[in-house]
Amino acid sequence: MLHPPVLEIHSHIAFVYSRKTRGHLEYKLYVCSVIIDLYMAEACQQFPSVVDRYFTRWYKTDVKGQLYEDYCILQHSNRICVITLAECHPVLQSGKNISSISYQISANCSRLQNKVSGKSKRGAQFLTEFAPLCRITCCDGDEYTIYSCIRGRLLEVNENILHNPELLKEKPSTEGYIAVVLPKFEESKTVTEGLLSQTQYEEVLLKRTSIPDSKVDL
């Protein structure tokens, strides 16, 4: 029992595969499998997950022009945003191993120093869209800076991933979250304006798998 879109994706994989394009083929297949997983999960678990029950998923692709550095922002109905990495993010690809994560974003600013107090969260560091949250260094020497993507007050960072970077790879959208950000009340609606909805994001993923100069008719 597959959803119609899943069948569509299947045919697309077949198409992509048949063209025997090189370079990104492997990646594209991976992307397709992610989408399939997504639908499969929905189809199999009748009861929506915690994330699906309370949060809306927003995506941002190729952040700062870095190819495939995609983010998934989970926005709770109470406007709180959880910053996570989308499964496509290079850090999460098989073969990549994280050697260290650091919330020290400059010589004199560490996100670990962030302290909030009271209901109004006084003392929070204020983040702009491109404020760096942390740096992830992989065993192969690659370094990735993770950005906020959301304007708001930094409520907390996930210290668990410091001791256990594997969480990031195992459960990127829950226990492997990067940070929690509280947008300003008056910006709670507009803060996600530049982001992609789940459907839009899936379209982007599909486009990535297609060849730029060929017109694909699905």
């Binding site: 915690v50 109470n78 209901k119 907390e156 509280l182």
Partner: protein, 580 residues
């Protein structure tokens, strides 16, 4: 009949000081004589002469007696009386500034009072030596030359008093009292006594201050002091006059701690600008606030008057204050009954019923609520204006509350009906229970103080829950048995993401006292928990992004989720159980 008691000096000195020190020196006598009202009997007058005084004629005795009895103005304040009366102040305000602390003179009919006051002021020169000499020995303190000036021009009582703006003149009339009575009648309250409150325009404070400065000046000339606190407040004098009148109309007593309040609000637009100069002198006293219509609150004006120098004040607000053309306006007569509190316990059987109305951006998310189902009926019976619902903790919309239920209390604000019998309460409970969504028990009227029991030890009390848990991995019966052996499990909960927007971020230790598991199928089991109050159960089940540790998922090495939750008991012994 008036009988002057003449006592020996030593005795007198003691008696005077101990009986009534404030009354030393009474109008119509030289300062060396003292006239006090005997405490045990208000109509008896005792003349205490502690030193050799001037001679007073027998006809003067009669006058002295009369004016004392009626006005009770002490001699030393006479010049104040003259000053005020000649500058447009009503006789009752004159009494106030002469520090007459007894209610009787204020209650004299206005005309009589005015006449008496005039007589008192113009006749003082007539006090002639009495036929018999009163000799009680030597004293240096005798000062027979009190500043008695013969005849001053005492004007006719002005139309509207420049100090009370007519409140002590026209707003204690029978007509006005009738107006209050009709208002109370039509409001339809149940009450057994009342308390009367007055809201006065702030400019009265400015005018009062102005008169005080003048009166103080007068007293200084006699080497005496006049504190602002010595002056009888307008409110007090007004109540002395109007309380008996309202009391008679309503047929109940005025009681300062009454639950039923009748309030009048006065304003006087013509003189509103009186306060304005204070802003230029004390800017920081008048900061605009969101909820206040005007910056000139009584508080702010009091503060500014406290700060301003006498010179500054007199420059900006010269004596005497203008005589207004109109009397204070009554802008409102309000009635209010103190809140009634109703408590009970409720069960919630629905997973789509929030405890309180769920409204986001003005849009209703769920039909009805526990609060509404209960209070709707209460409001009808008590005819209250509004209510405040509170409870011992709360459950989420999708959580049921079973067992003996959750204690709650409702404050009924400004109830019109307050005599509600136990039988009526029983019927009320039955009516509320005419739904299958909730059930109420032990519904009763309680005191405000008793409400504290509901919140008492909210942290220490335990709560029992039953949860339906889902696991990602397939489980066998043995996989959930280990939970039964875990006792007093300490967990650390960060403020759940779902409430973090309105609560401070903290990491709180909580205790899961006991757990009991019941295997259901490969992905489901039921978990009974007894926990410290304040534990977030849903987060303990799914972990809340790893923010509650340990959690069911982490202990079972899988992803876990909670599909259903019921509160089985809230262990608070309040309100007391009632027989059915």
């Amino acid at each position: 009949m008036f009988v002057p008691y003449i006592l020996p000096p030593v005795h007198v000195t003691r008696t005077v000081r101990s009986v009534c020190p404030a009354r030393a020196g009474v109008a119509g006598l030289c300062a060396a004589h003292t006239c006090v009202r005997a405490e045990h009997c208000p109509s008896t007058w005792v003349l205490l002469v502690d030193i050799a005084g001037p001679c007073i004629s027998s006809s003067s005795w009669e006058f002295v007696r009369k004016s004392h009895e009626m006005l009770l103005i002490e001699e030393k304040y006479k010049s104040i009386a003259k000053l005020l009366l000649s500058s447009g102040t009503c006789p009752r305000c004159v009494l106030r500034f002469c520090c007459v602390g007894s209610s009787a003179p204020y209650r004299l009919p206005y005309k009589n009072l005015a006449d008496e006051l005039q007589k008192f002021l113009s006749n003082d020169g007539d006090i002639a030596p009495p036929s018999k000499k009163v000799r009680l020995g030597d004293s240096e303190e005798c000062r027979s030359e009190t500043e008695i000036t013969r005849d001053t021009d005492v004007n006719e009582a002005p139309q509207t008093c420049n100090l009370c703006l007519g409140i002590l003149q026209h707003l204690c009339s029978t007509e006005f009292v009738k107006q209050i009575f009709h208002k109370v009648q039509s409001a339809g309250y149940e009450f057994q006594d009342f308390v009367f409150s007055v809201s006065l325009p702030p400019q009265l404070l400015v005018r009062e201050h102005s008169a005080w400065l003048q009166a103080q000046e007068e007293m200084r000339r006699q080497d005496r002091l006049l504190e602002k606190a010595d002056i009888i407040q307008l409110k007090e004098a007004y109540k002395w006059i109007i309380h008996p009148m309202i009391s008679e109309e309503l047929g109940v007593q005025a009681v300062s701690k009454s639950l039923f309040e009748v309030g009048v609000v006065f304003c006087h637009q013509d003189t509103d600008e009186d306060c304005h100069f204070l802003v230029t002198v004390c800017k920081d006293c008048f900061k605009p606030t969101k909820n206040k219509q005007s910056v000139f609150t009584r508080m702010a004006v009091v503060k500014a008057l406290d700060k301003i120098t006498d010179d500054d004040f007199v420059t900006h607000f010269p004596w005497p204050p203008s005589t207004p053309k109109t009397t204070c306006q009554v802008i409102d007569i309000q009635c209010n009954h103190a809140s009634v509190f109703v408590a009970g316990r409720y069960n919630k059987y629905s997973r789509t019923l929030p405890q309180t109305p769920w409204v986001i951006d003005g849009e209703r998310k769920m039909e009805s609520s526990v609060e509404e189902l209960i209070t709707e009926q209460l409001m009808t019976v008590f005819q209250a204006d509004s209510f405040n619902f509170s409870s011992s903790g709360r459950e989420d919309v999708d959580v049921r509350t079973l067992g003996r239920g959750r204690p709650f209390a409702i404050e009924l604000v400004n109830p019109h009906r307050v005599r509600v019998t136990e039988q009526v309460m029983k019927d009320l409970q039955q009516k509320i229970n005419g739904t299958d969504k909730i059930k109420v028990r032990d519904l009763q009227i309680v005191t405000r103080e008793a409400l504290a029991h509901m919140k008492e030890g909210e942290e220490e009390k335990t709560k029992c829950y039953s949860a339906l848990i889902w696991t990602e991995k397939t489980i066998r019966k043995e996989d959930v048995e280990f939970l039964n052996d875990i006792k007093e499990l300490k967990i650390l909960q960060k403020t759940p993401l779902r409430v973090l927007h309105r609560r401070p971020l903290a990491s709180r230790p909580r205790i899961i006292h006991t757990m009991k598991s019941e295997y259901m199928d490969e992905h489901h089991f039921r978990l009974y928990l007894k926990t410290q109050a304040g534990t977030y159960i849903k987060e303990f089940a799914h972990g809340d992004f790893g923010r509650t540790v340990p959690n069911i998922g982490s202990m079972m090495k899988t992803t876990a989720d909670i599909l259903e939750l019921d509160v089985e008991s809230v262990d608070v012994d309040w309100p007391p159980a009632l027989e059915d």
